[in-house]
């Protein structure tokens, strides 16, 4: 355990969060929960950008990238949720294992 916050702390935290997001993305069946896991992964990437910028503070590039990434993630969440609502309207379910409309095994 290190005594002071170093970049390693942030990298490890980011890796843990990203892995949790990946695990949820692979195992959850609810479309909304899958979207939440994507948000966790995006946040871990943002943390990485911010921490690299903290330990190389000659400019603000990392923080600006994180800011733009937050905007993009918000738009992605909105569109994803719209898709979920439309899937529920059209198919009556948002479980990813029940949506088989595009599967070619009928």
């Amino acid at each position: 355990m290190l005594n002071e916050i170093s970049i390693n702390h942030c990298l490890i935290l980011s890796g843990i969060l990203f892995s949790i997001g990946v695990a949820g993305f692979l195992t959850r069946r609810n479309l909304i929960a899958v979207l939440m896991c994507i948000e966790i992964m995006l946040n871990s990437a943002n943390l990485l950008l911010v921490s690299y910028n903290r330990f190389n503070p000659s400019n603000h590039a990392g923080q600006i990238f994180a800011l733009l990434s937050i905007v993009i993630a918000a738009g992605e969440a909105a569109i994803g949720l719209v898709i979920a609502i439309n899937a529920f309207r059209l198919l009556g379910t948002i479980r990813t294992d029940e949506i088989k409309e595009m599967k070619d095994d009928a």
Binding site: L17, G24, I32, E39, L67, V82, A84, D97
Partner: protein, 194 residues
């Protein structure tokens, strides 16, 4: 151990456990709450990393906006989920083991080379003023404008997708039939004033 380090560990534990709640909770609403606490913990970590503006944006956009959006959609859909971790087509345990291996792959090399870069922070690092001056400089202004256009397109797209169902051809035919029938029954088109 310094106070900031203790706070960092505390916030990390909050974020990680909330993220675990997001992944494991049965009810989607609990997942949304866990997501909110993950975002709040990360906002605290941003403060520790001298990214003050980003911390505020994180709380406003993520904890305030995105989470509430998720909660509204969950309320609209209202669809209980029974998790079956032993699904027939997805070997979940194998995937979980693979994820843990991936975590080791991500974190392992970090322990191998512990390097402490200690750069003195310039004055006003991460404040709204410094970030704004950098954002509106010629370096990043194109990206900023592009993101603005992207946000506009997203707004239009979400309204267009969620709005009225577009008339398909079959629907149109049925509606025309219905209108013809109504006109046959009431020749005036329903005008009963006379």
């Amino acid at each position: 151990m310094k106070l900031t380090t203790i706070i960092f560990y505390l916030l990390s534990i909050i974020s990680v456990f909330s993220a675990l709640i997001v992944v494991t909770a049965r009810s989607p609403m609990r997942s949304a709450l866990g997501l909110m606490f993950t975002f709040l913990g990360l906002a605290g970590i941003y403060v520790l990393l001298h990214a003050h503006l980003l911390a505020v944006v994180q709380i406003l956009v993520y904890a305030g906006g995105v989470t509430v959006l998720f909660a509204f959609v969950i309320l609209m859909i209202r669809h209980g989920e029974q998790i079956s971790y032993s699904g027939p087509f997805m070997p979940v345990r194998v995937l979980s083991v693979l994820t843990v291996l991936y975590l080791v792959y991500l974190v392992g090399p970090i322990y191998l080379e512990v390097q402490r870069v200690k750069n003195a922070l310039p004055a006003g690092f991460g404040t709204a003023r410094a970030l704004g001056e950098s954002l509106f400089s010629s370096k990043h202004i194109i990206a900023f404008e592009a993101v603005g256009i992207l946000l506009l397109v997203t707004m239009v797209a979400s309204i267009a997708l969620i709005g009225r169902h577009r008339k398909t051809k079959e629907n149109q035919k049925e509606e025309e039939k219905l209108e013809n029938r109504v006109e046959k029954v009431i020749p005036d088109g329903g005008n009963t004033d006379a």
